[in-house]
């Protein structure tokens, strides 16, 4: 009997010993796996592929040399390696975590066994502290705890600042204007001293400014910018100028310059990222956009000094695709030109992102229209009028035209179109005293009511992949496309007035002036036609092909070839070349005119040309 008891006792002791040993081993194992996991976690944090500097630098280098296949391949390799490393680490962490969980379970179980084997019921003893004393102590602590809760609540009531209580929208308006004080000053001074023609840009005291704050009102008078036909004509607020009709009202423009020597180049600034869109101007500010596969950016420059006033990356847009759509190199993601309505600048990109900034760079709204199914890339530019932003969205998966509210980005109207994918931009034309939105695609040239979006007329007249935009002048709409034809259509009757197919542009759009139509072709020919009959009046063979569209300014025809050489003709039925200055850089965009200056976006730089 004694031996049995002894054996039982030994067994108990042995079990306790074993349980303790297992607990120690499980504890050490768990701790060891934990250390490894910690190191792995730190490694994951360190080699986060989302913030890889190596990859970022490679992408930057690629954006400067977009055609370099070596960079592309290198980026792919690095990206793949980093992803592999990252996901391998994740696998290691997950496996390690399960091992550690197993260790922790063994540890807890062995500890439970250990303590239960050592367990014995203590001999019941009388309580040391009397019940009443316990209760008194408990009351005291409940009192303290309750008081603490209430005191904390009172303290938070008095010491928490409520910013909303003192919120006044008017003050916020003045405050936000002051953020860009220096820029505003430049704008006001230059309007009064140099821009004689911008009298109609009315500068008044805003009714929003509080009378009680004269010091604010004096230094930062908010302006009310009138956006009407007069101000639009005096600015260059869209692709090919006012309403996209290729006419500028600027005068005193230089006709000679030389990019190599710097003659009449007032300033030039390097553009960080490439883009094919043309600049737009509102008063003293010039806007353009750029994009590559990693980012899309809108830039605002002081057009007097070339200083970059602000740049804003276009991101965090709901519905924007994580992977950018494939585009060809000669289109890219930033082919469409921006537009400005005097208060906001609007930009659209090849992934369907559309965004509005105020002129100080504050983001107002942004949406994604859905990725356009377009095998070259979306290139149709924006137009704005009467608080509406017009978008020609012709894709393989369906075509439509829409008007968004410039204030909110919400759709005001949307009209389904029956044409094929196109690359042309819309124009606005005043017909019978009312503006119409006119668009060209394959197969039709159509006019739309800008208030309702209703199609007013449509003429089947075009074929092929339509790139050139139409132009309106002399009561007719002119449309053309390479391998198709050039037509003149009466928008009131829908009648085709004439048709010709001798010289046809591929990318460049036609211009109209005083009864003449000017076109610039990819075969390096500038041609002039009689607008009423379609008769070819003259032709001029240039050095390089034309992507840039001809513009009419100061009674002259201005057009840049892709080599950067400009051709300035006297407008008329006879070929009179005034000059053909060289920029010294490839040009694909269309020139912009303001205050006796010519602005042109080269492949790498933005140029301001004026008389030195």
């Amino acid at each position: 009997m004694l031996n049995l008891d002894f054996e039982q006792q030994m067994n108990e002791t042995e079990k306790i010993k074993r349980a303790r040993q297992i607990a120690i081993i499980a504890g050490v194992f768990t701790a060891f796996v934990g250390v490894l996991l910690l190191l792995n976690y730190l490694q994951i944090k360190k080699s986060d592929p989302l913030n890889s500097l190596v990859l970022e630098k490679l992408v930057e280098r690629l954006s400067s040399e977009p055609n370099n296949q070596h960079f592309v391949e290198e980026i792919r390799q690095v990206d793949l390696l980093m992803r592999k490393a990252y996901f391998t680490s994740l696998w290691q962490v997950r496996t390690g975590a399960y091992l550690m969980l197993f260790g922790a379970i063994v540890l807890v179980l062995s500890l439970r066994v250990y303590y239960s084997l050592r367990f014995a019921i203590d001999q019941p003893s009388a309580d040391q502290i009397k019940e009443k004393k316990k209760r008194q102590l408990t009351q005291r602590w409940i009192g303290f705890s309750g008081a603490l809760v209430i005191i904390l609540a009172i303290m938070s009531a008095f010491f928490t600042m409520n910013h909303l209580k003192n919120y006044e929208p008017k003050k916020m308006l003045v405050h936000s204007k002051s953020d860009d004080e220096s820029i505003e000053k430049v704008e006001i001074v230059s309007i009064r001293t140099t821009e004689k023609e911008t009298d109609t840009v009315i500068i008044t005291e805003s009714t929003d400014v509080e009378v009680k704050q004269p010091e604010v009102a004096i230094t930062q008078q908010p302006k009310v910018v009138v956006f009407n036909e007069e101000t639009v004509k005096k600015n260059h607020n869209a692709f090919r100028g006012s309403w996209g009709n290729a006419v500028s009202s600027s005068t005193n423009l230089p006709t000679s310059w030389d990019g190599a020597t710097g003659k009449n180049i007032l300033w030039k600034t390097e553009l960080p990222i490439h883009g094919y869109n043309s600049p737009v101007i509102w008063n003293e500010k010039l806007f353009l956009s750029s994009a590559n596969t990693s980012k899309r950016v809108v830039y605002c420059y002081d057009r007097n000094s070339g200083k970059l006033l602000w740049e804003r990356e276009v991101n965090n847009i709901q519905g924007s695709p994580a992977t950018q759509p494939k585009t060809t190199e000669d289109t890219g993601l930033a082919a469409p030109t921006l537009t400005v309505d005097g208060e906001k600048a609007f930009a659209i990109f090849g992934n369907g992102d559309i965004i509005a900034f105020d002129l100080n760079g504050n983001r107002v709204w942004a949406i994604n229209l859905g990725v356009p199914d377009n095998h070259y890339g979306h290139s149709s530019s924006l137009l704005t009028w009467e608080k509406k932003l017009f978008i020609q969205y012709d894709t393989h998966k369906g075509s439509k035209v829409m008007a968004l509210s410039t204030e909110t980005g919400k759709t005001i109207w949307e009209t389904v179109r029956t044409n094929e994918v196109s690359w042309a931009s819309p124009i606005l034309a005043k017909i019978d005293g009312k503006f119409q939105l006119i668009m060209l695609a394959n197969p039709n040239l159509s006019g739309y009511d800008i208030t309702t979006g209703k199609q007013l007329w449509s003429v089947d007249c075009m074929s092929g992949e339509v790139g050139p935009s139409p132009v309106y002048g002399g009561g007719l709409v002119y449309a053309t496309n390479e391998y198709a034809r050039m037509v003149a259509v009466n928008p009131k009757t829908g009648e085709k007035v004439w048709e010709d197919n001798y010289y046809l542009p591929e990318v460049s759009s036609p211009a109209y002036h005083n009864g003449y139509i000017y076109i610039a072709t990819t075969f390096a020919v500038v041609a002039c036609f009689e607008a009423t009959t379609g008769k070819l009046l003259w032709e001029f063979e240039a050095k390089n092909s034309f992507y840039s569209s001809p513009m009419i300014a100061e009674g002259k025809v201005w057009v840049f070839d892709t080599g950067g050489k400009a051709y300035i003709f006297e407008s008329g039925g006879e070929s009179k070349l005034i000059s053909s200055p060289e920029l010294g850089e490839k040009v694909f965009s269309t020139p912009v005119f303001a205050d006796g200056r010519v602005y042109i976006r080269g492949i790498k730089h933005l140029f301001c040309i004026g008389v030195n």
Binding site: A97, I154, S176, T293
Partner: protein, 449 residues
């Protein structure tokens, strides 16, 4: 500086000196890695590769929802029988293990009676929000069982409680004053959860559920830390979340206090052997009272009167104080937070890195509208704060009052409010058990003097 306002970067805030220690002990990295994996962007393919559409799982079939409810009823009924009739701690334990595996790890801690409180509240205050029958049943059924037989839900159906129960290694006794003081918190948490759900701000019980991350093998870093901390503490302070945090536990406690039938430590007459005295790791056993000592004095009577008179005072003061703290409370609402941020720092409106600001800016809504909406929400908090504060005042006053009410007790019995019906104490009672192991198998270990 700007990044400080980003709401979605909680990880860095916790990279403190405790990181290493905590990582040594549990499976945190898995959870973090898991969350990172989900937000990992797709590669920017420049080939013809078509990225497949993201597949979304279908909602749970109604049949499966009813299966959840059926299992809950089955578990509660079985536990009731095990507690009241069979009196078997061992089987209660196994039922609880099943519940942990099913409601915890298989169902990922959801559907959950604890969190259903918020769904129900929101459905009452928001016309556009409704709850399914299953959610309603998950909220009501455990309360009905508590009203009938005590907190059997805590014993064997709640995965949050069971995971803590299983890690109890060497529980220590807590002083009554500490237990009662900490015991105020579940009621405060309950009130806050109702206020936040009613105002549509957040489901704070779910957001701060410390164990759901373990069930799902994925949660934000701070929640994993919280869960592990509770389990580590729970090895020595049994069920800390259930006793000092759980808001649903506060409701169960109220119901259980008035339960018709309840677990009894002894199946027949208590012989006052005191063996069960220290058996409860939750300090939920009430001892026999000392007649002489507990005789109410005149002083006790006036204390009672004082505390009773204190009820309306504390309710008013609490209401006033909490209502006044609406600025702090409402700042948890995303609209109020954003409005405060943009009004105090308008330059942040140009910040393209902050997701919240970016989302707001792209919505087309003006700051003025946002501020107006935020002010409406603040008013709701100011109004709701009166009820919350009054509730807190009432709870404090009743806890005080309870301390001057003396009840005669001649035997050792489970405290109906605090007892989780786990059945541990039943094993200690030798009444009706001639084969009781402490008497029969290990006579030498019965009493350690």
């Amino acid at each position: 500086m700007v990044r400080l306002y980003k709401k979605h970067i909680p990880l860095k805030n916790h990279n403190n000196i405790f990181l290493g220690l905590i990582f040594l002990l549990m499976t945190v990295p898995t959870q973090i890695a898991h969350s990172q994996q989900q937000r990992f962007p797709k590669p920017e393919f420049q080939t013809e590769y078509q990225i497949p559409e993201t597949e979304r799982p279908n909602p749970r079939a109604p049949f499966m929802e009813y299966l959840d409810l059926f299992l809950l009823l089955a578990v509660l009924s079985l536990t009731t029988w095990l507690v009241l009739k069979k009196r078997s701690r061992k089987w209660i334990l196994w039922v609880s293990v099943f519940s942990l595996l099913y409601f915890g790890f298989y169902r990922n801690g959801c559907i959950c009676s604890v969190g259903s409180l918020q769904n129900l509240t929101l459905s009452l205050f928001n016309e556009g929000y409704s709850v399914s029958f299953t959610v309603l049943a998950f909220f009501v059924v455990p309360l009905l069982f508590a009203l009938a037989v005590g907190r059997v839900f805590c014993a064997s159906a709640c995965p949050l409680g069971i995971i803590q129960d299983l890690v109890i290694v060497k529980p220590i006794k807590l002083s009554p004053w500490l237990q009662k003081s900490l015991g105020l918190f579940p009621f405060i948490y309950l009130g806050l959860a109702v206020l936040y759900a009613a105002t549509g701000t957040d489901f704070i019980i779910c957001r701060f559920d410390p164990f759901v991350g373990i069930f799902r093998m994925g949660a934000e870093f701070h929640m994993i830390v919280l869960g592990i901390s509770f389990l580590l503490i729970g090895m020595f302070v049994a069920r800390p979340y259930c006793r000092f945090v759980c808001p649903y536990g506060a409701l169960l406690k109220i119901c259980s206090l008035n339960s018709k039938y309840h677990l009894s430590i002894t199946p027949k007459d208590c012989i006052n052997c005191k063996l069960c005295k220290d058996s409860c790791p939750f300090d939920a056993i009430d001892f026999p009272t000392d007649e002489k000592e507990n005789r109410a004095s005149r002083k006790d009577f006036w204390k009672f009167v004082f505390y009773a008179a204190l009820i309306p005072v504390l309710m008013f003061v609490g209401g006033w104080a909490v209502s006044g703290s609406y600025k702090l409370l409402s700042s948890a609402h995303p609209d109020v937070y954003l409005a405060n941020l943009l009004v105090s720092q308008p330059e942040l409106m140009q910040n393209t890195e902050n997701l919240d600001i970016e989302t707001f800016m792209s919505s087309g809504k003006t700051l003025e509208i946002l501020v107006e909406e935020a002010k409406i929400i603040q008013e709701k908090f100011r109004f709701g704060g009166w009820f919350l504060g009054a509730f807190i005042g009432l709870v404090i006053a009743l806890h005080l009052l309870n301390q001057v009410i003396f009840r005669k007790r001649s035997i050792y019995e489970a405290n109906r409010g605090d007892c989780f019906s786990c059945g541990r104490c039943m094993d200690y009672c030798p009444v009706g058990k001639p084969e009781h192991p402490f008497f029969k198998d290990k006579p030498e270990m019965v009493v350690k003097s």
